[in-house]
């Protein structure tokens, strides 16, 4: 538990925040350094998204034709899988906070499982598009499609390492750190919310 505003909470507030964040308004989930990284990554992706949009509005017909090759249902399925993984990692944080470490571990493993489902689904989707003849160089839309989904995929792979650290922390009573569990969860949610926007831009918008 770390405070970034003013003089910081006293020992009583820290204990309360460890049990219930409702008890302390100034509870920063995880390490502030991770939040700085998350905001940096978020603004970097906003730059990617904006470049995509600038290119798209210059030739909307091409983007619409190529976008029609993607399966909207697969994009929605992947979104639901990542949202569910975010839910399970949020439950992991809550369980660890309440001292229910078996439940926290179960939810951490569930998050890993949902992440793997997303990974397999994404690889199969790429293979399917390449099989149909739509590769990175096919046209501008597919160049953005592969670039944005690959950048996101890279963050997903890092997410597996982060979740591994969370599991390692929860496994032994000697290592348990609520702050590190929350830090890992903050990273994983970032993988989720970046995908939510990629889904809207590549699959849904017209």
């Amino acid at each position: 538990m770390t405070d970034v505003a003013g003089a910081g909470p006293g020992p009583r507030e820290l204990r309360l925040a460890a049990v219930d964040p409702d008890a302390a308004r100034d509870h920063v989930p995880g390490q502030p350094d991770m939040w700085a990284f998350v905001l940096f990554e978020a603004f970097l992706f906003t730059a990617y998204f904006t470049v995509y949009m600038v290119c798209r509005v210059q030739d909307p017909e091409l983007y619409l034709r190529s976008q029609a090759q993607l399966d909207l249902r697969i994009g929605a399925f992947n979104t639901l899988v990542l949202l569910t993984s975010s839910w399970s990692v949020a439950r992991c944080v809550q369980s660890a906070r309440e001292g229910e470490f078996r439940s926290a571990l179960t939810n951490a493993f569930l998050t890993l499982a949902f992440g793997l489902v997303f990974l397999v689904s994404k690889v199969l989707e790429w293979a399917h598009e390449i099989e149909k003849g739509f590769g990175f160089s096919s046209d501008e839309f597919f160049s953005f499609y592969y670039f944005l989904t690959a950048m996101h995929f890279l963050h997903l792979l890092i997410g597996f390492v982060v979740l591994g650290v969370v599991v390692h922390q929860l496994w032994s009573p000697a290592r348990r750190s609520q702050e590190l569990v929350e830090t890992g969860a903050t990273y994983w949610h970032t993988v989720d919310f970046l995908w939510v926007i990629i889904f809207a831009l590549l699959y849904v918008m017209r």
Binding site: D3, V4, A5, D20, P21, D22, A24, R25, D26, H27, V28, P29, W35, L39, A42, F43, T46, F49, T50, M53, V54, R56, V57, Q58, P60, E61, L64, Q67, A68, L72, R73, A76, T79, L80, L83, T84, S86, W87, V89, A90, R91, V93, Q94, E182, A185, T186, H189, D192, F193, V196, I197, F199, A200, L201, Y203, V204, M205, R206
Partner: protein
């Protein structure tokens, strides 16, 4: 018995899934055979996505319990992303039809 915090997480997850289903419906409005550019569909898709992101920030990432500064920074990102994406799309569409 399910704790109030657990119930809240379930409600948030269900709401996010329901909003995603709405996105699926929005994206299917004109079929996939001959999709046409649509400012309404695009604005709806981006608006829905940013609403979902804000819910993830506040509920799953617990920003609603965080210092005001963190809440403002995450809201600023949502706002900047909305302005960049919607502004570019609206301006681009206005020039191409103008």
């Amino acid at each position: 018995m399910i704790a109030a915090s657990e119930k809240r997480l379930i409600a948030v997850w269900l709401a996010l899934c329901a909003i995603t289903i709405v996105s699926l419906w929005v994206g299917s409005l004109d079929g996939r055979v001959a999709p046409a550019a649509s400012t309404a569909v695009t604005s709806g898709a981006i608006g829905i996505a940013l609403l979902k992101v804000r819910i993830i920030f506040r509920e799953f990432m617990e920003v609603r319990h965080a210092p005001v500064l963190l809440g403002r920074l995450t809201d600023l990102w949502v706002l900047v992303t909305a302005v960049c994406l919607l502004g570019t799309y609206w301006a681009g569409m206005a020039f191409s039809t103008g």
